[in-house]
């Protein structure tokens, strides 16, 4: 397989493609979940996951069979997310809309409140912290793998995860997801704007 891959992109290899496709299909639920945590919006997340899936398919010749395909596809999805984010400011708007929808959900007394509170808390984290926490805390990746996906040092991932945990705890303690919809919505807007400034200032 490795020899086939080394021979180049142009050469068709149906058996290898079929194997790749099986692996890719199995990863779709994971790509959807990662995309959902990045965008905080189900529709935008599926668009992103589909784009990432097709980019992975188109780049299949450059994937070395037998290596970590989940990490490879997550890297593609993450790159796609940030390149779209750079192209427009759509994302901050989506974050805002998703946050407002979550606030509405929290107003529903029958909703599983604790989960919604955590969803909203996640949405309030700077994206670097959120993705690090999600990859390590929910995606099942080792720090080293998360570092590769995020294209940063292992120590950076560790510190982002640790800061994310502290921030999330603080957000939940402070009750910034307060049930007072309007006030919380405004607070959310300013926090998201601040997070946006911080991440774009890097």
């Amino acid at each position: 397989m490795t020899a086939d891959a080394a021979r180049g992109d142009r050469e068709a290899n149906p058996a290898r493609d079929a194997l790749f496709k099986t692996g890719l299909v199995a990863l779709i639920p994971h790509l959807r979940a990662f995309a959902r945590t990045l965008t905080g919006d189900a529709t935008a997340a599926d668009d992103l996951a589909q784009d990432a899936m097709m980019k992975a398919w188109d780049a299949r010749a450059s994937f070395e069979m037998g290596t970590n395909m989940k990490a490879w596809t997550f890297m593609i999805l993450r790159n796609q997310f940030y390149s779209e984010k750079r192209r427009s400011w759509r994302q901050s708007q989506l974050d805002q809309e998703a946050a407002e929808r979550t606030l509405v959900a929290i107003d529903d007394p029958a909703a599983p409140v604790a989960l919604d509170e955590l969803r909203l808390g996640l949405a309030m984290l700077p994206s670097e912290q959120r993705e690090a926490l999600v990859l390590v805390g929910a995606g099942g990746f080792a720090y080293e793998e998360a570092a590769e996906i995020c294209n940063c040092a292992v120590g950076t991932v560790k510190s982002r995860v640790s800061r994310a945990r502290r921030a999330l705890q603080a957000i939940l303690d402070r009750g910034d997801y307060d049930r007072d919809g309007a006030a919380a919505g405004e607070a959310m807007g300013s926090i998201l704007a601040q997070a946006e400034r911080l991440s774009s200032a890097r």
Partner: protein, 57 residues
């Protein structure tokens, strides 16, 4: 003995709360993983695969 338990209590509480957050975080992620995949995903992948298998004449 009493001193030790009172000093470690806040630490234990903090650890328990982080564990609770971790469990909920995994639940949020796993809930999406367990959703049925929309047909569209497999359709566009199949279309791309067919386009490769049957190149234009």
């Amino acid at each position: 003995m009493k001193k030790v338990s009172s000093a470690s209590a806040p630490l234990d509480e903090a650890r328990l709360r982080q564990q609770a957050i971790g469990a909920k975080l995994r639940q949020i992620f796993d809930d999406v993983i367990n959703e049925p995949v929309p047909d569209e995903f497999l359709e566009i992948l199949r279309a791309a695969d067919n386009a490769r298998a049957e190149p234009e004449p």
